[in-house]
């Protein structure tokens, strides 16, 4: 059973993402912001990290950077959820070591579609 770390500061988004992933048969650990996610990632590994970009304490890009410094997360797919898919954002995501991005809003089927591309 694959486990996914889902990071978003919005409770309703977390609920939606988490419910969708669980319905698709994944194990989900939720985190309320980058800092929280980083702490949760310190104690175990995940098959995928799904993080929002805009969050208090630590944003998605910074989280990605910090995770990539940890050998355990060197090759883990990290997807950033963002409302803007500007080149600037992509530049920053790439530089931070993200695997890819997903534009908000997305619907549950889209989320599953993307995740099935990276978790096999």
């Amino acid at each position: 059973m694959h486990s996914i770390l889902a990071v978003d500061d919005s409770a309703s988004m977390r609920q939606m993402v988490s419910f969708t992933l669980k319905s698709a048969g994944y194990n989900v650990v939720e985190a309320v912001d980058g800092q929280d996610a980083f702490e949760k990632a310190g104690s175990r590994s995940f098959d995928l990290v799904l993080t929002d970009q805009n969050m208090p304490r630590m944003d998605g890009i910074s989280l990605t950077k910090k995770l990539r410094e940890n050998p355990q997360f060197k090759a883990t797919p990290i997807l950033i959820l963002t409302t803007e898919s500007s080149d600037q954002m992509k530049q920053a995501g790439r530089a931070a070591g993200a695997t890819g991005w997903l534009v908000k809003p997305f619907d549950p089927s889209k989320l599953i579609e993307v995740i099935q591309k990276v978790i096999r």
Binding site: A95, T99, G100, V103
Partner: protein, 718 residues
């Protein structure tokens, strides 16, 4: 757009998004409150980055949810706000008070929009002017029109409010909707809908999307209509079952709506060679997602996901997120939301337990302490544990006063601006907790008091300066615990009350107001119905809904109001309330075989009746003389027609109670004692009974009525 079930929920991956609406509404409500608070606290001259970031995040968070859950109007407005806030936080624009005004008004409009989606009732919120103004500001222009809040802000959604049955609002103009039908075993069935629109011309227009092809038995159409979703559903049911039909708003102008996903846009993407990225599939157009090349975990075009990670590139400095106080996050992790019903059920059960415990305690009094030592020890423990449990459960319903106080900064800001006054609000003791039920009921009276202070109390700036006072007036809201009650004070440093004015007004109204009245009694005059101290009635307060209503509402909560004032220096109104409505201190009195409970807060004194004290006046009843004051006598035996089997007995004890500014002496047989009683609502369980405010169950299992002293006082007035 008012139909909750058909709007925004997409039948995708078999997941109905509407199940997440409640959390989204609560969260959006919290974000709006936080945003308003931060906007009010924003120092325009020296806005700090963190403040601007926090405000931006609130708008951003609402936008993300609204777009995901399909509330296009909310998404659009927050998107514009976000654009403006983004410019502010990047210092491309300087904040102005006009911007704060527009953002506050937008917050009000968002509340109205959300409440509309949540309840399925209300009119479409017109945000044209707001959007226009925000765009103008983003472009660096000044707003053109005067700002009017788009809609009265509805009360924030209550936690655990059940989602009501959708009542579709009539649509204002033609709307463009995406209609999804399916899954159908025979997708061509959906073509009947095309005929339907042909037959009924005023239904609007319909055109198939996806070239009329079905995907997984699902068909999509674009509908332009003025009819409500429910009307259309009723027509559709002749051809397809209602459950298979979904409407989602289809933005006419993709540019203005962030929620618009182009059809050829996948909405996600991977970076080439990024860690974990799948083999890239070339797509036409922007798929809306992507993988980064050579990033760790990305599958290279011909390798599996275990592709060797590239040496990390030198990261371009992405500005680290500023350290925000993790208030929201910390709260999230440390609190749970529980429906009020569950808590009330818990309180009821504890109430029953308290009664059972009291019964056991009473029945065990006759036991021999030597023989039943263990049981009595157990009962003592039970007594203590029950009390602790009761306290703990009651505290669950307690919420801090700040939830009430937080409403006022915004209200005062608007009000002071309207009146041309300068007012600063100071709050103290906002952490003081009060029962949720009380908080809801005390909000209106407090609002009235604060408005009064601002309207009648605080002087205009020039007037204050002339008096040698600081130009800005101060209104202080303070909450504190005092014994078993909570005291909420509203203080201002304004005009104060004028003794002469009040006396003059009272005499004009034909009230008895001799010069010999004490100050306290004179201040009390403003509680008389229809009494307004305003020289001219403004539309803020003094519209006949005056202090008498405030006093009555507070009295209904078993509370009292005190006024203190010094002319020229200000006024202080103190509201004293019991901490909870569910439990009260009562005095039990016996009449014949019956037991009645009087609220201890209204009991003044009791005394033995001596012969000659009670006098009959004409035919209007009897009075008793207590310290040179005559008071009406109310015989409970007559009021409640208590049966008597012992005709020799004469009630000989008077209990003086005070309520609604009057006193009466109740004639009873005996005083039984004081105790805490668990108040049960009689109306909900039986029906309304005159002179009775509730009931309780005594230790011996009998029901005792709790008397409504206010109504007993009123009864003696005529």
């Amino acid at each position: 757009m008012g139909d909750m079930t058909s709007e925004g929920s997409q039948l995708s991956a078999g997941i109905d998004l509407s199940q997440f609406y409640q959390v989204f509404f609560e969260e959006a409500g919290e974000n709006l409150e936080r945003m308003e608070q931060q906007l009010l606290e924003l120092d325009i001259e020296a806005a700090d980055d963190e403040e601007l970031n926090a405000i931006f995040r609130c708008a951003h968070s609402i936008k993300g949810g609204a777009a995901t859950f399909g509330f296009a109007d909310v998404a659009e407005l927050t998107h514009q706000m976000e654009t403006l806030l983004d410019k502010l936080r990047r210092h491309e624009l300087q904040p102005t008070s006009a911007m704060v005004d527009v953002l506050l008004a937008s917050g009000d409009a968002l509340r109205a929009q959300l409440s509309r989606h949540q309840t399925g009732t209300g009119d479409e919120v017109d945000t044209t002017e707001l959007l226009f103004n925000i765009r103008a500001m983003v472009a660096g222009e000044a707003p053109v029109t005067a700002l009017v809040a788009a809609a009265p802000a509805p009360a924030p959604a209550q936690v655990a409010a059940p989602a009501p049955a959708p009542v579709p609002a009539a649509a204002a103009g033609p709307r463009t909707l995406e209609l999804t039908v399916g899954p159908l075993s025979d997708p061509s069935q959906a073509n009947n809908l095309l005929d339907l629109f042909k037959e009924i011309t005023d239904l609007g227009t319909i055109e198939p999307l996806d070239g009329g092809q079905a995907e997984a038995g699902m068909r999509r159409f674009k509908v332009v209509t003025q009819s409500s979703e429910s009307d259309m559903l009723d027509l559709f049911t002749f051809h397809v079952s209602k459950e298979l039909v979904r409407f989602t708003p289809l933005p006419q102008d993709a540019a203005s709506t962030p929620a618009a996903a182009k059809e050829d846009d996948l909405g996600y993407g991977f970076f080439d060679d990024a860690p974990g990225a799948p083999v890239a599939v070339a797509k036409d157009g922007d798929p809306g997602y992507g993988f980064f090349e050579n990033s760790p975990g990305a599958p290279a075009s011909h390798v599996t996901s275990e592709a060797q990670a590239q040496a990390a590139q030198k990261p371009t400095a992405a500005k680290a997120a500023a350290k925000a106080e993790p208030k929201g996050a910390a709260l999230d992790a440390a609190t749970i939301r529980v429906s009020v019903e569950k808590v009330d059920q818990l309180i009821n059960l504890v109430g029953e337990l308290v009664i059972t415990q009291a019964m056991l305690a009473q029945n065990s009094r006759g036991l021999d302490p030597v023989v039943h030592q263990q049981m009595l020890a157990g009962l003592t423990d039970l007594d203590r544990n029950t009390r602790d449990l009761q306290e703990a459960v009651m505290s669950i319903r307690m919420i801090p006063m700040s939830t009430v106080f937080n409403r006022f900064p915004r209200m005062l800001r608007d009000l002071a601006a309207k009146l041309g006054k300068k007012v600063e609000l100071v709050t103290q003791g906002e952490a003081t907790e009060l029962d949720k039920g009380l908080v809801e009921k005390i909000t209106d009276p407090l609002t009235h008091l604060v408005r009064n202070s601002c309207d009648h109390g605080i002087e205009l700036p020039e007037e204050r300066l002339a008096k040698g006072k600081p130009e800005t007036g101060t209104i202080t809201l303070a909450a504190s615990h005092q014994g078993g009650s909570i005291v909420i004070e509203v203080r201002d440093d304004g005009r104060g009350l004028s003794r002469e004015k009040l006396l003059k007004k009272a005499r004009e109204r034909g009230l008895h107001a001799p010069d010999s009245l004490t100050d306290q009694e004179v201040w009390g005059l403003i509680f008389e119905p229809g009494f307004s101290t305003a020289d001219q009635v403004t539309d803020v307060s003094g519209r006949g809904v005056g202090m008498d209503v405030v006093k009555k509402n507070i009295a209904a909560l078993n509370g009292t109001v005190e006024i203190d004032s010094a002319e020229g220096y200000g006024m202080r109104v103190a509201v004293r309330l019991p901490l909870t409505l569910a439990i009260m201190d009562g005095m039990s009195v016996g009449v014949g075989e019956e037991v009645y409970i009087l609220p201890l807060s209204s009991v003044v004194e009791s005394f033995q009746v001596e012969p000659g004290m009670v006098k009959t006046i004409g035919n209007s009843g009897r009075v008793v003389e207590v310290r040179q004051e005559y008071m009406p006598v109310v015989e409970l035996e007559q009021v409640f027609q208590v049966p008597r089997f012992d005709f020799e007995h004469v009630s000989s004890i008077m209990v003086v109670v005070e309520a609604e500014g009057g006193r009466v002496a109740l004639l009873v047989d005996e005083l039984l004692g004081q105790q805490q009683v668990v108040v049960k609502n009689l109306e909900a369980n039986y029906r309304k009974v005159t002179d009775v405010s509730g009931a309780t169950i005594m230790g011996d299992g009998r029901v005792a009525l709790i008397l409504d002293t206010g109504s007993l006082v009123r009864r003696s007035r005529h």
